[in-house]
């Protein structure tokens, strides 16, 4: 994947996404709902296509709210990455976002790291039916 400066696209994007060496970093906004989901998805997909991104990392360190619309965005990218042998990860989940992951079962689909990672196993056991 190229990791030099991108040309021509600076103006229309880079609101949520940052192209890193080897992956696309998505700074998930403070509130990820239906209202924000469309813009984030469009920006991420443009970069994924343009730079043949094979790994997407969603960073939740600035995120206070996410509902099912956010789940849809993550599952959608995860599915697209799956088609091309890539992967999706989530990092820096606070307690709230972790709860959303648990209730939706997203933690079984997407690898998580950082922020409360130490609690993952305990919580997963508690939630196992």
């Amino acid at each position: 994947m190229p990791h030099g400066r991108r040309s021509g696209m600076e103006n229309i994007m880079e609101k949520y996404c940052e192209l890193k060496d080897g992956y696309l970093l998505v700074h998930v906004p403070r509130e990820l709902d239906h209202h924000r989901a469309g813009g984030l998805r469009m920006e991420a997909d443009l970069l994924i296509d343009a730079y043949q991104v094979r790994k997407v990392v969603f960073d939740f360190s600035g995120t206070e709210f996410m509902d099912s619309s956010g789940i849809g965005v993550i599952i959608g990218r995860s599915r697209n990455m799956g088609y091309c042998g890539g992967e999706v990860m989530a990092r820096n989940l606070n307690e709230r976002i972790r709860k959303i992951f648990m209730v939706s079962g997203l933690h079984k689909i997407v690898k998580t790291e950082g922020g409360m990672a130490g609690n993952t196993n305990r919580m997963e056991k508690n939630h196992a039916e």
């Binding site: 709902d33 239906h34 509902d67 099912s68 965005v73 959303i100 939706s104």
Partner: protein, 144 residues
């Protein structure tokens, strides 16, 4: 606490109002001294119901979503209504992962979230007439 307090509002079926609806309800229930977790639960449930009205209930942004909220003692009841398309099979619609809009990357989690985060969720709907989602939550019973 034996107080009763009620509010009612309606707004355009525009996605920008999803955040507004969450914040309005969160401020309204603040007098109940909910925990941050309880507030987040309520915000998520409101967001799901309002988003459903906007995405599934209506096609035109000028259509109105009605939201009402009643606090009675330690319980809050929130009703989100639309006069849109309606739901033909409510039981099926409430199943986890059931969605009629997979092409929009909907995952069919909305009702599951409402049920997970509120104590009780009742849906009534009529095709061509609209949908009403009534949710209740008791504040101050932090489980787990």
């Amino acid at each position: 606490m034996q107080s009763k307090n009620e509010m009612r509002m309606w707004f355009d079926a525009r996605s920008v109002n999803e955040g507004f609806a969450r914040v309005a309800v969160a401020s309204f229930v603040a007098e109940m001294n909910p925990t941050l977790d309880e507030i987040s639960d309520i915000k998520t449930a409101v967001s799901e119901a309002v988003t459903n009205a906007i995405i599934h209930g209506y096609e035109r942004p000028e259509d109105k979503v009605l939201l009402s909220c009643v606090i009675e003692g330690d319980t809050v009841e929130i009703v989100v209504e639309d006069t849109g398309r309606g739901i033909p099979d409510i039981e099926k619609a409430m199943e986890p992962f059931y969605t009629t809009k997979p092409e929009l990357e909907r995952s069919g989690m909305g009702f599951s979230f409402m049920e997970a985060f509120m104590d009780d969720v009742q849906v009534s709907s009529a095709v061509g007439k609209g949908t009403s989602v009534r949710m209740r939550k008791k504040i101050g019973v932090q489980e787990g």
